[in-house]
Symmetry: C2
Subunit: 108 residues, 2 copies
């Protein structure tokens, strides 16, 4: 049998944090589970994310603010999760500049 696909969400943090790092963890079809590492990044560079899929996101470590196009700021700390419906325009308007923020994101 093949080895179990095991990993650790806190492991292998990239040293180069000049840009956000997206890592595919698992998925099939339209479903994608990703780890995202941010440090002081905002995204996208301009405008809003406007996605065809729902996104469930959890801050595993760190602190971040997601802003909706209504102007609403949603502050997320360790363990906080948020379900972002498809086509809810949003952006990551702040992440802690002093330490990495680890996200777990499920696109579905």
């Amino acid at each position: 049998m093949s080895d179990p696909k095991i990993g650790n969400i806190f492991a292998s943090i990239p040293r180069d944090k000049s840009s956000e790092v997206f890592e595919f963890l698992a998925g099939a079809g339209q479903v994608k589970i990703e780890r995202i590492v941010s440090q002081g990044h905002t995204s996208p560079d301009s405008g809003w994310y406007d996605q065809d899929q729902n996104e469930w996101v959890m801050v595993v470590k760190g602190t971040a603010v997601i802003t909706y196009d209504s102007g609403q700021d949603i502050r997320l700390q360790e363990g906080d999760y948020l379900n972002i419906p498809a086509h809810q325009k949003h952006k990551v308007s702040w992440t802690d500049p002093d330490t990495e923020t680890l996200w777990l994101a499920v696109f579905y």
Copy 2:
């Protein structure tokens, strides 16, 4: 607009831990994101889980052992994740009896 659907994975731990507690967090169609709280539980009560869907599971807090029907034990600590393919027979053969184990599970 409706309030953002926000929560915290560490919040609202059930006091009664006489059985495992499954909580739906988000999902659509065949996709389901769940929090599971275990403390000293093994599951299922007998036999194996044999699921039609893939399951990606992460231990958010605590310690657990998943056993495959090959006899392989997979020890999971905080932050460890495992992708369990559909129809990979498995069970939770141990969870820490002294503290709760929080799981995040994505069925896809």
